[in-house]
């Protein structure tokens, strides 16, 4: 990577110079050195000009005025004095001197905004801001031991000074005290540099082997850190984006000490400038006259001045990563995808398998990549996807990569992700039977945190983790897939551990406090607690320790002992119950107020009013419609010959069915059930009357009546029997004797009399299609369940009255089930519990001898009791409502 980055264009040696300071002026043509040598950087090999000085002191710092209008002026510090020189046309003269400091001057800096302003710092505890016109310090900032002072590049009022390991930020309008104070390093700060574009950010380099990046608005913690093995002499931002040049103080003089970094990736330097044999004392960026590129000018203790040209393309693009870096950083933890990268040959092979399809794709990166040069994509064997698909994918990949490289961005990762999504979408179309590679069992799976729970009735219950708990992993981090996990750990290890590890490395960049590495694995460690920590960074705290204390008392005492006097931290969030009834298509209020009466017209009107009251205007109209459709004038004539029944009219059955469809789609089971009930009530099926006489009371017993008392108590265990019991309600009188069930089918009924058949057909002309009766009953049953949940047991019974239902099957003759253990029984004695199977409905004593049973309801008992009972009654003694005398022969 070295060759592409820079080339050393100029090496000039100044054997006798002994320079201690250097500065490059804003036009980039001169450098100033000890005893003031001026070197024309355009022609560096020309003999340098020397300017005489009359001082026994060395030059401390030199700086050219950065403003073009004053570009001929430079300042040099000499002990406690600042001398201003002007340099024109190859000869210089002392311009003026600024005297005021009483001790040696440590640093000076020209303002970026005002060409007259110069700041100087001195060990005399003052920082002076000079007006070079008046040669007087206009502002004096009092600060002990300022080693460096630097103007902010964006804000004309701000400056920063370093004091041993600390940094102070000053506003020249408020000279009394520093605006901000940062305890930046533990050792002396050698270098301080403001960011070129961001007003708030600066970098410090220090004896403690690190460069730290700061936003002075967050003085407590640095933004990021660049750790080096050796003390860092200087760290300065590059004039092109996101670069940083550091000068190290290496242990061995010959080691490379001049490095270029990308601030976006502080893991490894982008480039090392190789050439100097000794420590680099000073470096400056020099703008080029004809272009916007920069050259790096360095001055080393080896007495050479070197000028480095940095690849202009790279300057323009910021510090784009090289291919190798892209490969090392690319995140391709995608399931079923494997990428083999070969940076040397500038290519990589992407292999993926989805469903039954295999894809091998060779990607070749041109030399200029990613500078507007897209890689090429080529499918190789054993790719199995069809060629049409190949073409399609290739086109997608080209588009994606071009988009990226046009902006000088890397494109490998986006391309692979595109490939995966193409293949995935293809897989959704076609049949897929992907052999998923599964690795070792990992237990337990992470359980859930925020959880929604059943939206019972009209409530939504959920809870969230408390505000103190945060995901330890940033949300953008892909959740670890199994393959990724097994790569790190074998055997039983939970994903949490891995998350916390990645967390630590990520923290480095985000600058948030790092967590102890001794994390034990626990569920809670998936989240970590964020607390406002006290200023001292040493007091850190992890959830895991808490989690390991099983007993709450210990938990508390330990906490109190640990000087956290604040409230206990809540690990459990609150459970929130939310009313969402407005979102549901069913309304409890309607459930309460809906009526089901014999007078259909009135029912419809009242229901319409109820619907209006809860704001369901659509339902009000539906009820009005229902009212019209059920009016007496439209009821079908008993004589099939008089007229076309209303059900055949477009406003008849068709209209009703359309409405039912509509409410089905809305899942409005309430409306569906009510409409079905009303229209059924309007046209009760003939068999209801003929068989049961009064359908309501008879039918609703088929469904266990949950009473309102059991509803309020929340317990209804008493009703369990009623459900478990078999309800036997015959559709047709069951004739004694052998008969196959098929005989009871409507469809199989043979119509001997054509008139009967015609009548049957005419009966089908009801508004509700009798063919869908079962569906309508299901609506009613479902709605009944909901009513029951609401505690409206009576309303539920009202609705269920109108179910026609599939008649519960006839269970046969003698009770099929033992009355004690409910197991199937044959004969008088139960095979399971050895008790007598039958119980007399009258005396509740087991029947052993002569007995009689109703064939339809299955109830009966001692013959004598039955005879007595049916002498006076015609309904079943068990209270099941069966008219046993009519149904069978006693």
């Amino acid at each position: 990577m070295a060759a592409r980055w820079s080339s050393e264009t100029v090496v000039v040696e100044f054997r006798d110079a002994q320079a201690t300071a250097m500065s490059v002026d804003c036009l980039g043509s001169h450098a100033v050195r000890h005893s003031l040598y001026l070197v024309n950087l355009d022609a560096p090999s020309e003999p340098s000009r020397k300017m005489g000085r009359h001082s026994k002191w060395d030059v401390g710092t030199v700086q050219w005025n950065p403003h073009r209008s004053q570009a001929h002026i430079f300042a040099a510090s000499s002990n406690q004095r600042v001398d201003l020189y002007s340099w024109r046309d190859g000869c210089g003269e002392t311009h003026t001197s600024l005297q005021g400091h009483t001790r040696v001057i440590s640093d000076l800096d020209w303002s970026w905004f005002d060409s007259e302003l110069l700041v100087s710092s001195s060990v005399d505890t003052y920082i002076y801001i000079w007006d070079t016109d008046t040669r007087k310090p206009t502002v004096a900032l009092s600060a002990v031991g300022a080693a460096q002072v630097k103007w902010n590049r964006k804000n004309p009022h701000l400056l920063a000074s370093s004091h041993d390991g600390d940094v102070r930020i000053w506003d020249k309008r408020k000279p009394n005290t520093a605006v901000e104070y940062l305890a930046a390093h533990l050792s002396k700060i050698h270098g301080l540099d403001w960011h070129r574009d961001n007003e708030f950010v600066f970098a410090t380099s220090s004896q403690d082997n690190s460069v730290r990046f700061w936003d002075y608005r967050q003085p407590r913690k640095y933004l990021s850190v660049l750790s080096c093995q050796v003390p860092v002499w200087k760290a300065r931002y590059t004039p092109f984006s996101s670069g940083l040049v550091t000068v190290m103080v290496p242990q061995l003089r010959r080691e490379n000490s001049l490095l270029l970094w990308s601030v976006l990736d502080l893991n490894s330097p982008v480039h090392a400038f190789v050439g100097h044999d000794d420590v680099v004392l000073e470096f400056q960026w020099r703008p080029q006259k004809e272009s916007r590129d920069f050259q790096l000018v360095t001055w080393s203790r080896d007495q050479t001045l070197r000028i480095w040209r940095v690849e202009p393309q790279l300057q323009k693009s910021g510090l784009a990563q090289t291919l190798q870096q892209e490969f090392s950083l690319v995140n391709l933890q995608i399931r079923n995808v494997n990428v083999e990268m070969d940076a040397r040959n500038r290519s990589c092979v992407v292999s993926a398998h989805f469903g039954g399809q295999r894809v091998h794709l060779v990607v070749n990166f041109p030399v200029r990549y990613p500078n507007n040069a897209a890689p090429t994509f080529q499918f190789v064997a054993p790719t199995t996807i069809p060629s049409a698909m190949k073409t399609k994918i290739q086109k997608v990949l080209m588009d994606t990569s071009l988009q990226k490289v046009k902006r000088n961005q890397n494109c490998l990762e986006p391309c692979v992700r595109q490939l995966v999504s193409c293949l995935e979408s293809d897989m959704e179309d076609g049949p897929a039977s992907g052999p998923f590679v599964l690795s070792n069992p990992v237990a337990p799976p992470l359980q859930a945190f925020p959880r929604v729970t059943n939206t019972y009735g009209s409530c939504l219950v959920y809870f969230t983790r408390p505000i103190t708990m945060h995901r330890s992993a940033p949300p953008t981090e892909p959740t670890p897939s199994l393959s990724a996990l097994s790569a790190y750990h074998s055997g039983v290890l939970t994903p949490m551990k891995m998350r916390s590890e990645s967390q630590n490395t990520l923290r480095l960049y985000s600058g948030s406090p790092t967590r102890s590495d001794k994390d034990t694995v626990s569920i809670s460690s998936f989240y970590y607690k964020e607390r406002k920590l006290p200023m001292s960074a040493s007091r850190r705290w992890s959830v895991q320790t808490l989690h390991d204390w099983p007993k709450s008392r210990r938990f508390k005492t330990k906490r109190e002992g640990a000087e956290y006097s604040s409230r206990p931290i809540k690990l459990a969030g609150k459970v929130i119950i939310q009313e969402i009834s407005c979102l549901l298509p069913v309304h409890k209020a309607l459930g309460e107020s809906y009526l089901n009466m014999n007078d259909i017209q009135e029912t419809c009107q009242k229901n319409a009013a109820a619907a209006l009251a809860v704001g369901r205007r659509d339902l009000a109209k539906v009820w009005a419609l229902a009212s019209a459709a059920t009016s007496q004038d439209l009821s079908p004539d008993s004589d099939p010959d008089t007229e076309t029944p209303w059900a055949r009219h477009p406003f008849g059955r068709h209209l009703l069915e359309t409405s039912l469809d509509h409410y089905s789609q809305m899942s409005d089971v309430q409306t569906l059930a009510m409409l079905c009930s009303v229209f059924r009530a309007q046209a009760p099926p003939p068999d209801c009357y003929s068989l049961y006489g009064h359908p309501g009371s008879r039918l609703h017993s088929r469904f266990p009546s949950y009473t309102s008392s059991s509803v309020t108590s929340g317990s209804c265990s008493s009703t369990s029997d009623s459900i478990a019991a078999t309800w036997t309600t015959p559709e047709h009188p069951a004739p004694w004797g052998e008969s196959s069930p098929d005989d009871y089918r409507y469809g199989n009924q043979s119509y001997t009399d054509p008139r009967e058949r015609e009548r049957e057909l005419h009966d089908m002309n009801k508004l509700l299609d009798p063919a869908n009766t079962l569906q309508f009953d299901d609506f009613k049953k479902s709605y009944g369940e909901i009513l029951y949940r609401w505690g409206l047991g009576d309303k539920r019974a009202d609705v269920l009255k109108f179910t026609a239902g599939p008649p519960e099957p006839h269970k046969g003759i003698f009770g099929l089930y033992c009355c004690h253990c409910r197991s199937q029984a044959r004969g008088t004695q139960c095979a399971v519990c050895k008790r007598l199977t039958f119980q007399c409905a009258v005396c509740h004593v087991a029947v052993r001898g002569s007995s009689n049973f109703c064939l339809s309801c299955g109830h009966g008992g001692h013959t004598g009791h039955m005879m007595d009972w049916f002498r006076r009654q015609d309904e079943c003694p068990a209270g099941c409502g069966c008219r046993c005398l009519l149904q069978s022969t006693f």
């Binding site: 069992p441 945190f449 729970t453 939206t455 408390p466 199994l482 709450s552 459970v575 939310q578």
Partner: protein, 320 residues
């Protein structure tokens, strides 16, 4: 209006993993990493601690209320590999049954529809699903589907008791033929449907779409229509809606509800089966509703003037 009607401070000492309202919405059961299960009476916005059930030796993942016709029964499952069924008798809660047949954490429990009696499905990290059926006299019959999901089962959910093809006229001479079915989701990225045939549990369908662990599955309640609907959510951030109109239950069509940017932990259906609540790793709860044309739309963020649910969540958090 969507409004918070109650905020229950459970005073659990560690993270809560589940909270379930009972059938009538009067009681709330919560469970937590602190190994306890708590029951609160939440009628009229109150919160009275009714019971604090201790018995698990690890974090309790999930609780489930049985249908009230069987009495007040609650099942809980835990990392300690146990399933405990609790019953209230004369106002006190006691262990009714403890099932220890799993070899790893039990992650999910779900009671079957009451039509089938007391039947509980339990999914475990050991890959198996157990079905516990109450047979009377404190006896429980155990059926186990081993290796239901390789690496582990994360969620189970029962199908509502509907007669397959109930629209078709039933032969009136036969008993309604309810088929026991449930759905499960696991670490093999699969959603599986199970069906009981002749007393044996068999894999009925295998639904593939997720690319990472399936975290939760939910079979939508039926309103009597012949369609079956299942929601599944996964680690891959996707929520899928599976529907089947075929009475035989063989053809399932899948639709992507949404791709979230984070893990989706849970899905839960409203009582009418048309609103789905989704909770994700971003600590947000969103509600989704199917429009008339079959498209799923997030309603919690758009319902004007009704208070976005997710916003309310945040407010709640800030108050803490």
């Amino acid at each position: 209006m969507v409004s918070v009607i109650n905020t229950v401070d459970t005073s659990h000492e560690d993270m809560i993993h589940d909270a379930q309202m009972d059938y009538y919405g009067t009681r709330l059961a919560t469970c937590s990493s602190d190994r306890t299960v708590k029951i609160f009476d939440v009628r009229n916005g109150g919160q009275i601690l009714v019971a604090d059930l201790r018995g698990h030796e690890g974090p309790v993942w999930q609780v489930a209320w049985a249908h009230p016709m069987f009495g007040n029964i609650l099942a809980s499952c835990s990392y300690d590999r146990k399933v405990i069924i609790w019953k209230e008798e004369n106002g006190t809660w006691d262990k009714m049954y403890e099932y220890t047949g799993h070899e790893s954490s039990v992650n999910s429990v779900c009671w079957g529809p009451y039509e089938f009696g007391l039947i509980l499905a339990c999914g475990s990290s050991d890959g198996a699903i157990s079905l516990l059926t109450f047979t009377g006299d404190q006896q429980w019959d155990v059926k186990k589907i081993s290796n239901a999901h390789t690496i582990g089962c994360n969620a189970v959910s029962w199908a509502p008791a509907v007669v397959p093809g109930s629209l078709i006229d039933q032969p009136s001479g036969q008993k309604p033929n309810y088929v026991k079915r449930f759905v499960s989701g696991g670490c093999d990225n699969l959603v599986k449907l199970w069906k009981e045939e002749d007393g044996q549990w068999k894999e009925d369908q295998k639904l593939e779409a997720h690319s990472d662990w399936v975290r939760d599955v939910g079979w939508a309640p039926s309103i009597g229509l012949p369609t079956s609907t299942i929601a599944s959510c996964s680690q891959d951030g996707r929520v899928f809606i599976w529907t089947c109109d075929d009475p035989a239950g063989n053809t399932w069509t899948v639709k992507l509800l949404h791709k979230f940017n984070d893990v989706v932990w849970h899905v839960s259906w409203s009582i009418t089966g048309n609103i789905l609540a989704v909770s994700g790793g971003d600590n947000k709860v969103t509600l989704w509703k199917e429009s008339m044309d079959g498209q799923w739309a997030c309603i919690s963020d758009v319902s004007k003037g009704q208070g976005a649910v997710s916003t309310i969540t945040d407010t709640q958090q800030n108050e803490q």
